[in-house]
Symmetry: C2
Subunit: 303 residues, 2 copies
């Protein structure tokens, strides 16, 4: 019998993982709030349904891939068609969204009241790795439930980590994303210095592949600068949301100067440019001859 | 005939590269200002000589591995036993030191007056990779001289980049080291946040190996935190020297907020701790319960 998988949330990442699951032979039922994005997956063999409750009618194993904790809360409990409205069936929820660890713990507790399971499952790698089954997935939740469903996670992940303490997967994911943002904006600053010194992107990319200043996100930035892409895999707004999550887990009086500066720089990109831009927007903070400060002044004048 | 190689400067890095060269069958003549460090290499088969001029008597191909541009200038021109005092022979200098691009250009011009060649050859990877021949080396200088000596560079490098414009190798090296410092202090901040959230070093290292927040210098830090090492491969002082070099190539009015903050944080480590410490000193900026600020206060009180 083919495993039926429910999938709620078909943005860039969700769409790529669903395509991978379909490609691996799973039967997937999809729902998305704005219907267009889900409809496209119909062409790839997904069953498109009109509400979360329809998903739970067909599937007991349901993945979420949503923008934030509010969206997760709505789909689980608050919407009129939420999964746990009038729910009599036992459901297993794998939530691939990146959300606050506090909410993850709360969802885990509240889903348990319905004799159901909530497993944190944030992923690292973006849509481009999802499509090839090369994500890294961090799971936290009930050990038995993780074990019996791990093969499904592995069908889109090259690496799977398991923890059994609620909140832990999200903490790791948020810290990872903070490191990404530090390395990204740091690489943007370094690359812009090199450009001013007359180095080409290609020669910097070539050398920095082999030297120890390299980071994975430096490579993501180089690749998008050298070959601009139409699709935005992780927008500045999404990055800023994740930096807010990092701020939430910084305790009072802790010394986190890099995080604070990086947070303020991404906020600045949203203020003077556009939060829907991709990672390459970072380099525009550092344009030749202080374009950034010019842009900022213009923005302040027009506002 | 065995190629005779002269080597001036046998600190941690120089010693490791010389060991590699000896291991690869080269005959190496070594000189170091403080003699002890050179003497040890005698046990590995190197010829230890008492001055730079002795080196040039035996070898026409000479490598430098010195702490800064002043030391290079002394060895090339200023010391009473400098290589180019009363020099009648044509020499080929490969300088593995990390120095200002301006000085590299000047050395190249001035060495040429002696019918000799100066090739910038900064390396990335540290002593631990030198010993296995796994350095990355960036060359800049005369194309023919690079070509005819490249096999020697390759004997200690897994990857060699060539440029023919003086200064270019140093710019790339300094930008690489800036990226290392950003990624290092960023990783220290992220790791310290994780520790406060109850994550172990081992589990963070395990997960962050596979996720996109990873950087090579994050790995260097994790490895030294998990298995502390006696040898300091790149001290905080060396890192700070390289950050000064980065500041030198930042032009007026350019926006480089990350570099400035990182520079000030490494300066802070030297002020409140000790510049001879290894990379793991960074984590102490972020000790639990604001130890850093406590340490700073104590330091200010006692000074």
């Amino acid at each position: 019998m083919i495993t039926k998988i429910g999938w709620i949330g078909t943005g860039n990442l969700g769409t790529s993982i669903v395509k991978r699951l379909l490609n691996q032979g799973y039967e997937v039922y999809v729902y998305n709030r704005s219907k267009d994005k889900a409809t496209k997956l119909g062409e790839f063999g997904a069953h498109v349904v009109p509400s979360p409750q329809h998903i739970s009618y067909y599937c007991k194993l349901i993945f979420l891939c949503l923008s934030d904790e509010k969206a997760v809360q709505s789909v689980l409990f608050l919407n009129k068609n939420a999964l746990f409205r009038n729910q009599e069936n036992k459901l297993t929820i794998f939530d691939t969204s990146t959300i606050s660890p506090k909410y993850a713990v709360e969802f885990s507790t509240n889903v348990a009241k319905f004799d159901s399971y909530y497993i944190e499952s944030p992923v690292s790698g973006g849509p481009e790795n999802a499509i090839n089954g090369d994500l890294t997935t961090i799971l936290a939740g009930h050990r038995g439930v993780i074990n019996s469903n791990k093969h499904i996670i592995e069908s889109f992940s090259k690496k799977v980590f398991e923890f059994y303490t609620p909140g832990k997967a999200q903490i790791l994911k948020i810290l990872n994303n903070l490191a990404e943002s530090i390395n990204l904006i740091g690489a943007a600053e370094v690359i812009s210095m090199g450009k001013r010194e007359g180095l080409s992107l290609e020669e910097m990319y070539d050398v920095f592949q082999s030297t120890r200043g390299n980071s994975r996100y430096m490579n993501v930035l180089f690749e998008r600068l050298i070959s601009p892409k139409d699709n935005v895999s992780a927008s500045i707004n999404v990055r800023l949301k994740d930096l807010h999550l990092a701020s939430d887990i910084i305790q009072n009086n802790n010394f986190t100067p890099i995080s604070e500066l990086v947070h303020s720089l991404f906020q600045e990109i949203v203020n003077v440019m556009d939060g829907d831009l991709d990672q390459t927007a970072c380099i525009n903070l550092y344009n030749n001859e202080g374009d950034f400060n010019e842009g900022k002044k213009q923005n302040e004048t027009t506002n």
